[in-house]
């Protein structure tokens, strides 16, 4: 077990003034509370340090918010320059136009873009735009999919009333027949279908779209006059430099991005087709610091790097090397590990481990070697991972498998 006295001390301090000490996806309770640190002190590249000076090799990338590694020098330099002239003013900064131009140039179907801070800000706003445009009520989502923290979709249980989800309908991912049934049952009533590019639920292996799924969804939406919203908050820029819809070969009507977009600076964006531009201007959208020029500069620079260096392809390739390495190592020790989902953001799954004891055990052991492997969430490969760091991680993973086998 790594030292954790400062972590615990800080957590006790936090718990006296912050509900639960730490909340949401960062709550220790949802990961490995006695193996992971509770607070970080710094990060650079693929490594971060906790408050007890432990170094960790990162495979979560701030839960996806970082794609170029912590403190990427090109982004930080652009950010510093922007910060020196200010960030939030009485009017937007010119960088907001530059960023909107960049996004509409990159994303083939998009003719406009708006900005906020968090994925949820815009997944919720996008379904309101769909309702405004279609003058319809219902929204369809995949069961178990995460679209944010608002009452219509959050995974928690508190503070919810029945009416919060009265207009939300669900179907099983990949089940086109079920989706078609919903369209039939609610003819001319469905405003939007909102989906992630592939199914990346927590506590479960990721599921890729089956052959024909996206074409089927697109076709159903088109036939029924329903807006197709792609929630690319988590996968955006990790599958394709021009948006995940390109990776799967379909075209949504709106897409929401966040996480990797700002490489750690809080920003989200929604882009859409020309036909939705009027509806978009009718649905109120604002936030005191949403015109944050620093975050926009970070996003613009991050997108430029993504495009110039084909970062999505790079992280997919790096992920492929790492995932197959890890699967082969597991086999050497007689463990059947599958790295599910895209290789740039794989979810680890031991066959037969429905109750998660094995993955929890593996990640606990790996944590002793300084590997930040999350047992319940998909991992993230950043472009700061390189051959050296991935090989080092695989060597440490070997020791972890060996130790796990010895415990049996």
């Amino acid at each position: 077990m790594r030292s954790r006295s400062n972590s615990d001390q800080l957590f006790k301090r936090a718990a006296s003034v912050i509900p639960g000490g730490t909340y949401g996806h960062l709550s220790p309770a949802s990961s490995l509370p006695r193996h992971f640190a509770h607070f970080c002190s710094s990060g650079k590249g693929v490594y971060f340090h906790d408050v007890d000076q432990n170094e960790w090799m990162d495979f979560m990338c701030a839960y996806g918010a970082v794609i170029h590694g912590y403190q990427n020098p090109i982004i930080e330099s652009a950010v510093e320059k922007q910060r020196s002239v200010g960030t939030v003013f009485n009017h937007p900064h010119e960088v907001s136009i530059e960023l909107a131009e960049k996004l509409t140039q990159l994303v083939d179907f998009a003719s406009w873009s708006v900005f906020a801070k968090n994925g949820s800000d815009l997944t919720t706003w996008s379904i309101r735009v769909a309702r405004e445009h279609t003058k319809r009520t219902f929204v369809v989502k995949a069961r178990g999919a995460y679209h944010g923290v608002d009452a219509w979709c959050d995974p928690g249980m508190g503070g919810r009333i029945e009416s919060d989800r009265a207009d939300i309908l669900e179907f099983e991912w990949n089940d086109l027949e079920q989706l078609e049934g919903i369209f039939k049952a609610r003819k001319d009533q469905i405003a939007a279908v909102i989906l992630t590019p592939y199914h990346h639920a927590a506590f479960a292996p990721s599921v890729m779209p089956e052959e024909g799924f996206w074409a089927g969804v697109r076709n159903l939406c088109h036939k029924n006059g329903t807006i197709l919203v792609l929630d690319d908050v988590r996968a955006g820029w990790r599958l394709h430099e021009k948006g995940s819809h390109k990776y799967f070969g379909f075209s949504p009507d709106m897409t929401v991005y966040s996480k990797a977009l700002g490489n750690g600076y809080a920003i989200s964006a929604c882009v859409g087709i020309p036909e939705l531009k009027n509806a978009a201007s009718e649905v109120f959208l604002t936030g005191s610091c949403w015109s944050d020029a620093v975050a926009m500069r970070a996003a613009l620079t991050s997108l430029e790097i993504c495009e110039k260096d084909s970062v999505a392809s790079l992280v997919l390739d790096k992920g492929k090397y790492f995932c197959s390495g890890l699967e082969n190592l597991a086999l050497e020790f007689n463990f059947k590990l599958r790295m599910t989902g895209p290789t740039s953001m794989p979810y680890p799954w031991f066959d037969g481990d429905d109750n998660l004891y094995r993955i929890q055990n593996f990640c606990q052991i790996a944590s002793k070697y300084g590997l930040f492997f999350h047992p319940h969430h998909n991992w993230f490969i950043s472009n700061a991972h390189d051959q050296v760091s991935l090989d080092k991680a695989l060597a440490l993973a070997r020791s972890s498998f060996e130790e796990m086998q010895n415990e049996l």
Partner: protein
């Protein structure tokens, strides 16, 4: 079941579970097995000599005393008094406030029984738990056997047992100490904070424990384990 009935049923089931934990002899224990007479009344045992209205059961839980239905009581007054004594024994054991493993087990099983009733009957809890099933085991750190388990099998309802089950648990909670366990049962600890600081550990399928924990807190809010 309507809300008052659920609470009253949870109180009566919990009392019965208390009898199980206290190892009251099987004959007497069965004599207080609760039965729903109608939507307003519960009988302890099937001979109907000790019957409470829902309202009076809730009063019994709140203040530790309330009147059973006299008409039923007069049918077999001696038997009824014996049962009242059993109920009083269970009630005073619950309020004993001792820091022992036996007391922790009693509080835990009684609280879990009330939660099980909510998971089976309360609309909100039913919608939260959905079709989830499996075994949730509660341990005291270092013990090989669980203190109590809450489980649901296919096609069955949520049930509490204090005997070890043979199948593998879907999730396991282990209290670091008796004190932590008792405070948890009494709703005096924040589960996120406790988990972070290692006061208890949770292994296995966390989403099931999240749901059961939330429903247990709903139950605890409706029916504080030691009354008001």
């Amino acid at each position: 079941m309507h809300s008052e009935q659920i609470k009253a049923w949870a109180v009566s089931r919990s009392i019965y579970m208390g009898g199980n934990v206290l190892e009251i002899d099987p004959y007497n224990r069965l004599s207080i097995k609760p039965q729903i007479l109608n939507e307003h009344m519960v009988s302890f045992g099937n001979r109907k000599e000790l019957v409470f209205t829902n309202e009076n059961l809730l009063k019994l839980h709140r203040v530790g005393f309330s009147l059973p239905e006299i008409g039923f009581l007069m049918s077999h007054p001696f038997q009824a008094l014996k049962k009242i004594n059993l109920l009083r024994k269970i009630g005073s054991s619950l309020k004993a406030n001792v820091r022992s493993k036996a007391y922790l087990r009693l509080l835990l099983a009684v609280g879990l029984e009330a939660t099980a009733v909510h998971l089976n009957e309360d609309k909100k809890c039913r919608s939260i738990i959905g079709s989830d099933k499996g075994i949730v085991e509660f341990y005291l750190d270092g013990d090989p056997l669980p203190l109590a388990s809450l489980y649901k099998k296919e096609g069955s309802v949520w049930t509490v047992t204090i005997t070890a089950l043979q199948k593998k648990a879907k999730v396991r909670i282990s209290f670091k100490s008796v004190d932590v366990g008792i405070k948890s049962c009494l709703g005096q600890l924040n589960p996120q904070v406790c988990s972070a600081l290692g006061d208890y550990t949770i292994d296995g399928y966390l989403p099931l424990m999240d749901k059961i924990g939330y429903c247990a807190r709903i139950t605890g809010h409706d029916l504080p384990i030691l009354g008001s």
